[in-house]
Symmetry: C2
Subunit: 387 residues, 2 copies
């Protein structure tokens, strides 16, 4: 066998360990086999533990390949799978792989009828895959997959040594697949936990929101609008907005009015304008919200949005009267979204503005109440009919 | 070289890919080297990316070993590390490994003064480790670690072929370490997300709790007591309580009174007994809580505790008047903990009971209001002075 491709294949097999997405890994292995071993095509049947079936991934083969287009899964009682699962009697097989030609010869010998029937089915399956060799990939006692190889491009047969080598590579493949599966399980566990966190926060924030009868759905709308504004800013300046920032903004939007839990219902739901005393109480909500969340170290950056979403660009806002660049970006974005939503929502004592009117008003106070960069992003979104 | 240990070591190196805790992996590698290669001792210097130092793990060596006990880290400007990082001129070195004896000879040859100085320091470092060979573990261009080997037990030298083999194993080691690091990063990401979820839930639940002026800290106490009761039940019957159950109970405890957000403050904070109408409103809180959380699929099991924590064993509770085994275990546990905390808390119109009195009362209604199995667990916790 050509020693050069062996070395290359060994190195490639090692490197695949760090590919942690099972389907990417499988494609890589198939491509690698075809390129390095110089065969017409190759494929893998990969065990799907949850459904106990085997998923087929196959390289683009020669025109005559018989695998139907939609044929992407085979059952675990397929003869090929059964053969490898049942660890058939080794006395008939020199290798733990199946070689089409050798197996054909075996059928003419005196073997028991059950084995003969199974082998016939196995060979038929190999014909469908146009496979010359099938190599099982075991991890411990589990059949993780089956690799199959088409003919060599030079038309020669695989040597015994080559088959032996593929079996060794097969165990690397099994290990890599197992590793990738564990990785992707952990990754989906992570996604699940994050969704749980977001959904619970959405539910609790909405419940608190509901205490304020006039602002039904306010939190969800402000969160969405804030994210739209941030993405628009990101189009203009990629360095300004990254995934992490969007994540923090998402959380901050959901929690921005959480401090209203500390404002008495009588003030929240009062019809008509508030007295000075009541307004003072109402204006405590950013600080109350920040105080509620302050013990949560991971929310440090999101808390800035909660605490400062009522600051104004010209320093006329609260709680601290911050000015211009002193106001964290996350808070400036929520501020614009919050104001826009408040203006366009009906109250018992006044009808909400139309979006057109609200945008005009945002334009008017841009550079004073709002950072014009962010006000402009909202104005553009409106011009593009995205809000 | 003895071909048998080579095969074994290769297999072992492959299997280590599925060890995903870096420090366990390192110990395994060191033990494997000592056992399979039959050397006096072995060690690894593992790169700690965050602190840019190298952590030393070493097998128990011969009595004379010179490594001081607390000497667990070396700086990245240590000569040994510098040597491998700087990929020293290959013309002096047959292998990319350092062999003590060969390197000693090199010093007598004509080499530039800087290299000579560095090599002297390298050899001094190897003396401290009593190392005969040092093998670098590169992953791409990064020096992941350095493996060092003590003398062979039979006193013989390592052959050139053996050194070559160790270099190959070294690349497996680097890959395994990198893989384990990625895995443990993902795992700690997962832990972080879960903590974020719990902490945010704690903060929001506490904020809602605070609306009810009379029950300060109630949610936290009920959650803790519920977990204690569950653990006690688990001591008696391991099948009843597993980690997953404790996780669900934790969340359920934190959220059990979340529905109080729907009860007007005037009722929550009323001094003196409630009217029928007010009591009816108050008694809606389990259903309101369940409705708030209902969209969150992952909380399905925890919601049962929120919805049914006011059911009684004899069917006299609310909202559904469930009886006995119809009441989910999670709800029965929270029910006992909730009642105990309510009884022992002062209200403006009555002083709370002492713990002794409350336990007596729980005993009295056990089998009627409460499942006696769970009441007994609380009674035992009290007897053991754990509550």
């Amino acid at each position: 066998m050509a020693i050069d491709y062996k070395k290359e294949l060994e190195t490639a097999a090692k490197n695949m360990i760090l590919v942690h997405e099972p389907h990417v890994l499988i494609k890589m292995i198939v491509r690698m086999l075809v390129q390095k071993v110089k065969i017409t095509h190759a494929g893998i049947l990969l065990h799907d533990q949850q459904r106990d079936t085997y998923i087929l991934t196959v390289s683009r083969g020669p025109s005559g390949i018989k695998i139907p287009a939609g044929f992407a899964r085979i059952d675990s009682d397929n003869p090929l799978i059964r053969f490898f699962k049942e660890h058939l009697d080794r006395k008939f097989f020199e290798f733990s792989a199946i070689i089409y030609e050798e197996t054909g010869k075996l059928l003419k010998k005196k073997i028991d009828e059950d084995t003969k029937q199974l082998l016939k089915q196995v060979l038929y399956q190999m014909e469908i895959f146009q496979a010359v060799v099938c190599i099982p990939n075991y991890y411990r006692d589990e059949l993780m997959g089956v690799v199959f190889l088409g003919e060599k491009k030079d038309g020669k047969r695989f040597s015994a040594k080559e088959i032996d080598f593929f079996i060794a590579v097969g165990s690397d493949v099994a290990m890599a697949i197992r590793n990738a599966q564990l990785f992707s399980e952990l990754q989906s566990e992570l996604d699940k936990k994050y969704r749980l966190f977001i959904h619970t926060t959405v539910a609790l924030a909405a419940a608190i929101d509901a205490k304020d009868h006039y602002t039904h759905g306010h939190t969800a709308r402000v969160t969405n609008l804030s994210l739209e504004i941030a993405k628009k800013l990101g189009q203009k300046d990629k360095k300004l907005i990254d995934e992490k920032f969007l994540e923090r903004l998402h959380i901050s939007g959901l929690l921005h009015d959480i401090g209203k839990i500390g404002v008495p219902e009588s003030i929240l739901n009062k019809e008509g304008p508030l007295t000075d005393e009541e307004r003072k109480k109402m204006r405590e909500h950013p600080l109350v919200g920040a105080a509620i969340l302050q013990p949560i170290k991971e929310l440090e950056d999101s808390i800035l949005g909660v605490k400062y979403h009522h600051e104004n660009y010209d320093g006329s806002g609260y709680p601290e009267g911050l000015k211009g660049e002193q106001i964290p970006l996350i808070a400036s974005i929520i501020s614009v979204a919050d104001t826009f939503d408040a203006m366009t929502t009906d109250r018992p004592y006044r009808r909400g503005l139309s979006k057109q009117e609200a945008v005009e008003e945002i334009k008017r106070v841009s550079g004073r109440q709002f950072d014009s960069l962010i006000a402009d992003a909202l104005i553009e979104l409106y011009a593009e009919r995205k809000i």
